[in-house]
Amino acid sequence: MSALDTAKVSVSYAECSARERIARLVDAESFHEWLPPAERVTSPHLAQLGVPSAFDDGVAIGRATLAGRPVFIAAQEGEFMGGGVGEVHGAKLVGLLRRALRDRPDAVLLLAESGGVRLHEANAGLIAVSEVMRALLDVRAAGIPVVVLIGGANGCFGGMGIVARCADRVVMSDMGRLAMSGPEVIEASHGVDEFDSRDRALVWRTTGGKHRWLSGDCDVLVEDDVTAFRDAAIAALDASMPVTLARLELEHALLASRLRLLPEHVAGDEAVALWARLGVADASRVAELDVDAVRALRTV
């Protein structure tokens, strides 16, 4: 390791690659990868379409220790096909989760950065994402916490957005984004009047970490800093929340009340109006506040 690596400087989580995130998040040198690049378990579909494959199909999986405790970890590489989940990519996630049922690590960490299903692999990708959800819920039901960390530039969208909300805990930075349909998809299907995907402030007001924190869709809001993500992951090690009927009904009640919060037509910005209705002080200033200040504003 060079002096730069060991110096106590802030390292942006968003700017790290998937592999750099793993290396910096878990205990030093503790990551043991399964199906590493040299095994060349690559996509069976991309070459036929003239698209280069990646040796790890865009996701690294393995075991490691976090604060000395055994964890399983997966990290999606957003720079490769937007983190899209293809057949092999999805199978690696499913394999990791199923192995967690057998080996019972203290937690499974999922460093998500994905636009959802990799469209090149269509049905195979869709099936893969549904298998990931099923496997994740099995792990959660077994009392092993699944922690999703979101802070990459590509956000966490589509099927992976659903996967994230299936987890025990969601950790986000203010740079992170979490939603089902991405901004471009909404604009394409409902028009620019409904959603202007080029309006970055709007995109972050409606999908960004601060909004998810204030509306209760993520459990921890951190700075865009690898150490902050590591600390949040350590804190989540004992945060198992098995799915129960009571918890599900509570979630439904929360969502139903949120749906009723806003009137049909809102004068001005809808996100700001929602925060105000949630009782957030200084709702109009949220965008300019730093993470610490926003953390104190949550009401849900």
Binding site: P36, P37, A47, L49, P52, S53, F55, D56, E77
Partner: protein, 107 residues
């Protein structure tokens, strides 16, 4: 029948190495993204440096050959297999990634 996948171009180069790389854990640097590439470096039997490239930018074989020749002059490694997945990286980026991979080789 060509073994080049449709749309992709596959290129192979082999150089006689002079400096044995010895045994090392496989190294992966870079990401397959627009204008970027990944380089996987592995130990191999023999004394050659074998390079296999798959790229989405077809028709740049002569430039690849020059860049690989330059690389081998800088690092005349023996017993190494280099595998590259490329998405249109420029020659400078390719050279930097190759040097980065060599710098991460640890016996």
């Amino acid at each position: 029948m060509s073994d080049i996948p449709a749309g992709l171009e596959a290129l192979n180069y082999s150089f006689a190495g002079q400096r044995a790389a010895g045994h090392f854990a496989p190294v992966l640097v870079g990401v397959v993204g627009s204008g970027n590439l990944e380089v996987l470096m592995e130990p191999a039997a023999g004394s050659n440096c074998d390079i296999h490239i798959e790229t989405s930018a077809r028709g740049f074989g002569t430039i690849w050959e020059a860049v690989m020749r330059d690389f081998h002059q800088r690092h005349p490694l023996a017993g190494v297999r280099v595998s590259i997945n490329d998405m249109g990286a420029t020659p400078a980026v390719v050279s930097l990634r190759l040097d980065q991979a060599v710098s991460e080789l640890t016996p």
